[in-house]
């Protein structure tokens, strides 16, 4: 009976043959809903915005911190050319050697004026010969007086400045020059391998990646578990189970939540990179971008497996209250990865970079540090993919076994057995 006249539309006159299209596209319908529902979820959106704001603020702080130059005013005895020269030498210490500070001199007529300048805050420190004689110190050396202890950076710079000036003066007295005396005495650093990413940046990057993983995996994982148990608790799943094969339901959910989790991380990474380009660390952007690309790839593959396991955690629960219990192993694993990866180094880090899920963070960090050979991320990705496939296969079975069982929490074993 294929009544084609659409008006009036009596209830349920869709011809049965029309109602039964194939089930093939069902996973796509499920996936679309997962994405739409999640993307419009207020909690999710607020969380995303807050995270983006935090990343931007953090980068802004770093930029400010990096561009900030220390400036000091140093009081020197009026007419003391050596003291003035020492301050200038200190100001000339390049940034790469811990210098770059802005130093100004303030000539003071006598000790009383110097003390007044310190007390009034007109000067940060007072550089004067130890024996009190003007026009160059004797063997007694120099004194840097502050209202309290002088600033450590200033002390360090002036120590170098005074030493340089004294060296120059003594050299001249001995009939030679400072340059001749120090010739061949420079020390520069070099590295055997890798790009120029210093350890501090590396630590920060590994911390950021671990955090990205943590937020993405835990947030989206909990969401997929919650959405599974919501359907189970309400028995909606019984209606859906009669309409589509359960594996379509699972596939749609995993893919949907993976897309959301991945998109979230791409947004974070993009915001982070954009913000970083305004900071002095912009020089590491190329290597950081490569590392981030690996991270996104690893996360995408790894999260497929995690999402599947989280879906089972949802199916093992009977009500939302059970979730905390059934997702505990997953939460522990994700937290373990978070803590281990951002603090790992050396051989341990190398091992972690091949252990599935931990490798999502560790391998990109090793790529960034220039520690990994070109084939290492590829091999590690294959290991991760194998894990994801195994997790998907086992989860599909456990999900089917647990989803339609009611009454209390279900164990993995019982779930796997009932799916037979």
């Amino acid at each position: 009976m294929t009544t084609t006249a659409p008006t009036p539309t009596p209830t349920g006159t869709t011809a049965p043959d029309e109602a039964v299209e194939g089930t093939r596209g069902a996973w796509l319908v499920v996936m679309k809903r997962e994405i739409v529902v999640r993307a419009l979820n207020k909690t999710f959106l607020v969380g995303l915005l807050v995270s983006v704001a935090i990343i931007a603020a953090l980068a802004g702080f770093m930029a400010w911190q990096g561009s900030k130059t220390d400036s000091f005013t140093v009081a020197v005895p009026a007419g003391d050319a050596t003291a003035t020269a020492a301050v200038q030498a200190a100001a000339a210490v390049p940034e790469t050697q811990g210098g770059g500070a802005e130093l100004t001199t303030l000539e003071v007529a006598d000790d009383a004026a110097a003390r007044a300048a310190l007390t009034d805050g007109d000067a940060d420190a007072w550089l004067h010969p130890a024996d009190g004689s003007a026009g160059g110190a004797g063997d007694a050396g120099w004194v840097l007086t502050g209202e309290a202890d002088p600033d450590s950076t200033l002390t360090r710079l002036l120590t170098a400045g005074v030493a340089e000036e004294t060296l120059a003066a003594n050299a001249e007295a001995a009939g030679t020059t400072a340059a001749e005396l120090t010739a061949g005495g420079t020390l520069t650093t070099d590295r055997l391998a890798g790009d120029a990413v210093d350890s501090q940046t590396l630590f920060f990057a590994s911390f950021a990646l671990a955090l990205l993983f943590f937020i993405g995996a835990l947030g989206s994982g909990q969401m997929i578990a919650g959405s599974v148990v919501e359907e189970k608790q309400s028995r909606l799943v019984e209606i859906m189970a009669t309409a589509v094969p359960l594996r379509h339901l699972l596939a749609g959910k995993i893919l949907g939540s993976s897309v959301v989790a991945l998109a979230q991380n791409v947004v974070f990474a993009a915001v982070g990179l954009a913000a970083l380009s305004f900071t002095p660390t912009a020089s590491i952007l190329p290597s950081l971008s490569t590392s981030l690309l690996w991270f996104v790839l690893f996360f995408g593959v790894g999260f497929l497996g995690l999402a599947a396991l989280y879906a089972v955690a949802g199916a093992l629960a009977s009500r939302t209250e059970d979730l905390q219990h059934t997702t505990t192993p997953m939460t522990m694993a994700v937290m373990g990865v978070y803590f281990l990866t951002f603090s790992a180094s050396g051989t341990f880090e190398t091992v972690l970079s091949y252990v599935p899920v931990a490798s999502v963070v560790s391998m990109p960090v090793r790529v960034l540090s220039g520690d990994a050979a070109w084939w290492e991320p590829i091999l590690s990705l294959l290991v991760l993919a194998a894990f994801a496939v195994a997790a998907l296969l086992v989860s599909e079975r456990a999900y089917r076994g647990a989803l339609l069982q009611t009454g209390g929490r279900i164990g993995w074993r019982s779930a796997l057995r009932s799916a037979a």
């Binding site: 209830t11 006159t13 011809a15 049965p16 039964v20 809903r33 529902v37 909606l236 009669t242 589509v244």
Partner: protein, 297 residues
């Protein structure tokens, strides 16, 4: 016109040592409303879940249209589970269309049909509301729409009338009548025996996982113990002495009797006429509630 019937053969389901459904067989014929009656824990829900394939039977089979039921068949069945639930935070229309899409119905078609049914159940204009904002009765109506959309070829409804006000019950009955008119078999469970008696053309009574009675209510009533009501001119205590007559209850001139056969009935009448006269002698058809109590006793 649908001519396929639902047939359940020897369906059994055990949970550990407990046999929740024990060798249950019955037919829900095409175009008829079949009532599924039984106390709590009688196995109604378990049987329905097995029919829908949500639960695997320990043994036995479910047949539809003369052949074992397939996944493709089940996709065309409308099902209303016992515990109600929908996505609480999703608008009514959105989730109904989603459920329809899962059954392979196109979005425009699903929208039109859903809106029409919501209208008929008195929910017009509330299609954009979140389900959690609706009253329980209205959530129930949304659930009904979920089961009835897409021209199902079989309806399996677990307690569809619970929680509905009388007007909604009537609306629901009309909706179901449309489906039986198309030849669709409808199997529904209920605790409301008066409602089942009013609606059903067929009845299956379940107790402790077993079928205690199965047939048309009329047949069941005929098969049930027929009683007679006798009203005499004086005290009716004498009926206890009539052979072939069992007095269920005697209250002054009124007696409720079980009469063995026609000869006994004639004896009863003759004796009555001889004594104080007979004002009334009528057969009393047992109500469904009586039959239910009798077969599940």
């Amino acid at each position: 016109m649908n001519t396929d019937s639902l047939e359940v053969r020897g369906l059994t389901r055990s949970f550990g040592d407990l046999t929740a459904v024990d060798d249950v067989s019955f037919t829900a014929p095409a175009g008829l409303l079949t009532g599924f009656v039984g106390g709590n824990g009688a196995g109604k829900t378990t049987t329905m879940r097995m029919i829908m394939g949500v639960l695997a039977p320990t043994s036995g089979e479910v047949r539809f249209g003369g052949a074992p039921v397939t996944r493709a068949d089940r996709r065309t069945f409308g099902y209303m589970p016992e515990e109600r639930g929908l996505y609480p935070k999703q608008p009514v229309l959105d989730q109904l269309v989603y459920l329809a899409r899962l059954r392979g119905i196109s979005t425009p078609r699903a929208r039109a049909e859903v809106l029409d049914m919501l209208d008929r159940l008195g929910l017009a204009g509330r299609s954009k509301e979140h389900v959690e904002k609706l009253s329980l009765g209205n959530q129930q109506r949304v659930q009904i729409v979920a089961a009835l959309m897409g021209a199902p070829r079989l309806l399996v409804l677990d307690e569809p009338f619970s929680g509905l006000d009388p007007a909604a019950v009537d609306g629901m009955v009309d909706l179901l009548a449309e489906h039986t008119a198309r030849g669709v078999p409808v199997l529904f469970s209920s605790h409301q025996l008066d409602l089942v008696e009013r609606l059903c053309e067929r009845l299956v009574i379940l107790k402790s996982g077993r079928v205690m009675a199965d047939g048309a209510p009329d047949d069941l009533q005929r098969a049930g113990t027929l009683r007679h009501r006798l009203v005499t001119g004086g005290d009716a205590g004498w009926v206890r002495g009539v052979p072939g007559v069992h007095a269920v209850d005697v209250d002054g001139p009124v007696a409720l009797l079980e009469v063995a056969d026609d000869a006994a009935l004639q004896r009863l009448l003759a004796t009555g006429l001889e004594r104080d006269g007979v004002r009334e002698l009528t057969p009393v058809r047992p109500t469904l509630a009586q039959i239910y109590r009798e077969v599940t006793a």
